[in-house]
């Protein structure tokens, strides 16, 4: 899959890398688990707490950080028979993590789940055909993983291009 040649340094310096930057707020077991649940539709403090077994203090902290990072928002809700409470929903930015997370899930079903049949499949509702995450080019064709190369902008600490 386009294995790059040996390098002493990444072509993109870590301080200019948005990916590395994003690990600041989601490179954390608990944050990732919260987002996983949130992408499934879970919204409430206590539901997160019981589902993922996160300590309450850590949950409060992580929700605060996810909100500060723009991934989630607080909204009021009112279930009848109880007082108004907050629920924690994904923002558009957080919702957009669905694709990377589903890519990750395919990976983990394959490599962690080994032979077991995956507990979930993605299908197209219209015809029930199975859906996966893949590379596509701008003409809508699927690109085999070994047929891609990276092009870098100049200001990154050199290492001109990189083939496969």
């Amino acid at each position: 899959m386009a294995t790059p040649p040996f390098r002493r340094q990444s072509p993109i310096h870590i301080s200019h890398c948005t990916l590395a930057a994003s690990f600041d707020f989601l490179g954390d077991r608990w944050s990732l688990l919260i987002l996983r649940s949130a992408l499934f539709g879970v919204r409430r403090y206590d539901d997160f707490h019981t589902e993922i077994g996160i300590p309450r203090t850590v949950l409060a902290d992580r929700l605060k950080r996810l909100i500060a990072s723009g991934l989630m928002t607080q909204q009021d809700y009112k279930a009848d028979g109880s007082r108004p409470r907050k629920e924690y929903c994904l923002t558009e930015m957080g919702e957009a993590l669905r694709l990377p997370f589903l890519a990750m899930r395919e990976w983990s079903d394959h490599w962690v789940g080994q032979g077991r049949t995956p507990p979930m499949r993605l299908v197209r509702p219209s015809d029930g055909s199975e859906i996966h995450v893949a590379f596509v080019d701008d003409k809508g064709r699927i690109v085999p993983p070994d047929d891609l190369a990276a092009r870098f902008e100049d200001w990154a600490p050199h290492a001109r291009d990189s083939a496969e």
Copy 2:
């Protein structure tokens, strides 16, 4: 993008979720940064150390864990003028993280990088056309993100199917 309805519980119990399981070994800022560098072609202890500014103790620990998880392997190498050393390469399993990581990178370039032009683009070497990560069905057609549904295996703690 197929926002799911409110739920009190994820359709897949966390103990059966390979995605959640994978967060055990890569739900960690440092592990993610190491993998990012490794996917770029970095292999040596000291290169990881200087590039990502990870404390040596933590680096040693993370490399050990990544090896134990099957994502990396140790190999001997010998640069002339110095004694034999180890280098840390991705296994096939680790290499396979390229797709999820690139999906993640598209996300972060868009949402974290805001307006800035991304430092890296993926292209097809043959015709230079730009490449992205997307959903595709089994006939090779691109699927718009709002046209997918999840199907669950039965043994997961119920919540029959889920539309969009």
